[in-house]
């Protein structure tokens, strides 16, 4: 192989790489009922959304659903910077108000789907005998919460502690405000903390089953968020996006949500 051939091969390789990068940017977002749609979804919806995506794609051959997960702020940042997503499924409907104000959401497309219910998760066998929100404020209890700005469940925790008047007592017991919710269960199962406030669906996942105990918070003391869905104003493929939104709010879609520990709004 002489140097001329090497040069030709190298140049072809570079052209292929550049062409590939160019094409991948161009070929997304065709405008038909088929093609690709991009969904931005709350990290807490991952288990249900992955299954919804698979069954939707099975029923609609030729349509690919790409899902980006993140906490509510990450989703907002993605909307703000990429301006390409078709559908958004945030972990809390209040998100939609902010996004609407910025003009990112098509107004009449927002629908509630399921509830996000905070519960108290404790170590297996409940060694510290925690039965209520009040117990989280007792001396010697180590509590982990989600970060109060970055995570939906962190925000809800503060709301519900305020409701029950336990905020000051519990806050003095908080050893960590974690920026990601999945850290909370890790801290619980590795024995770093005695209790954490997480959402019911996460606490009920197969991964957590048998490793932790779950204590329900009475409805009048609780702060419950609603997971919803909406179409973004950037959508290039409204047909497919609408179809997907209808599917995840249909009775078939709701049964998948329920399977993953979420309670539908209409029940």
């Amino acid at each position: 192989m002489d140097s001329k051939q090497v040069a030709v091969i190298a140049i072809i390789l570079i052209l292929v790489v550049v062409a590939g990068l160019y094409a991948s940017g161009l070929l997304t977002g065709g405008n038909s009922a088929q093609g690709n749609i991009t969904v931005l979804a709350g990290a807490g919806t991952m288990s249900a959304m992955n299954e919804l995506k698979t069954s939707f794609e099975k029923q609609n051959p030729g349509t690919t659903v790409n899902i980006q997960y993140g906490n509510s702020g990450e989703l907002f940042a993605a909307l703000q910077t990429q301006k390409t997503a078709d559908v958004i499924v945030p972990g809390d409907l209040t998100f939609m108000d902010n996004a609407k104000n910025k003009g990112y959401i098509i107004n009449d497309t927002v629908k509630p789907i399921v509830y996000h219910i905070p519960v108290i998760a404790v170590q297996k066998g409940n060694p510290k005998n925690i039965t209520s929100v009040t117990d989280l404020g007792k001396s010697g209890i180590k509590v982990a919460l989600g970060d109060t700005n970055a995570t939906a469940v962190g925000k809800e925790s503060i709301k519900l502690l305020n409701k029950t008047g336990e905020l000051t007592a519990v806050q003095s017991n908080v050893v960590v405000y974690a920026p990601t919710v999945n850290q909370l269960l890790t801290y619980l199962t590795s024995g770093q903390v005695d209790a954490a406030i997480v959402t019911e669906d996460i606490a009920n996942t197969s991964a957590a089953q048998g490793k932790i105990d779950v204590i329900q918070i009475p409805q009048d003391q609780n702060a419950i968020a609603t997971i919803g869905v909406g179409l973004t104003s950037f959508t290039q493929n409204k047909d497919a996006a609408t179809k997907f939104e209808n599917y995840i709010t249909s009775s078939e879609g709701l049964s998948i949500w329920e399977k993953h520990g979420f309670k539908p709004v209409n029940q």
Partner: protein, 263 residues
Amino acid sequence: MKSKFEITFISISFIFTSFLFVIIGSIFLIPSPQGFIESLFSDEMLTALKLTLSTSILAVVLVMLVAVPTAYSISRYSFPLKSIVKSILDLPMAFPEIVLGIALLMLFGNNLFGNLLRSLGIDIVFTTTGIIVAQFFVAFPYAVKIIYSTFSYINPRYELVSRSLGYGEFETFKNITLPLAKNGIFASSVVTLARCIGTFAAVLLVGGGTYLKTETLPIAIYFNLSLGNIDMAITAGIILVLISFVAIFTLEKYSNENIKGMN
């Protein structure tokens, strides 16, 4: 006259280096100057910067104290299980940081070792101590690797001559080996520092990543990205790029000078 082969290879390196340059450079263009300044002097950023630098510098000192003897023993001595020791030292470089983070959590959890530390009043998880511990174990293998190759390049004969002139092991190490290995040790501390500053997943898990308390610069990026504070996130990113640049620049300059000095 350069050959076609040479020109091709140089072009490839130029094209892809310029890609990399554009990628890195693009983050400098995102924030508005005003947003950058505001973010830079915000409480959160200054706290994160101070925390990152203080924990990293401490971690580097500790890493060096352990890595120099470790690297020296595997380059000079033969001892039982040496090959296993070497493999274990290389392991953390191959697996993701988050694995190390989880392993540390389990170690300091509800078990004999964790409870022993707690009874001694040593808190590791959710503290700055935890951050240093995480940085230490992430960076330690890299430091050992660089210092090991430095020691391996030094001809043992210098040491033998020193010993034959009646100097003890420690004096020989102090007066002959260390001065010869000075550059390698310096280089490895720069790399170790950069590694400690950039450690994310392990520090997030062990330290907890609590706002203003155990929030290092990489965590500040993640945090603010998740809040939609693009300016804050990018500013933290820019600070990290600048720190890395200074570290790498120092390293290059220093090693070039030494090559000149040798020739």
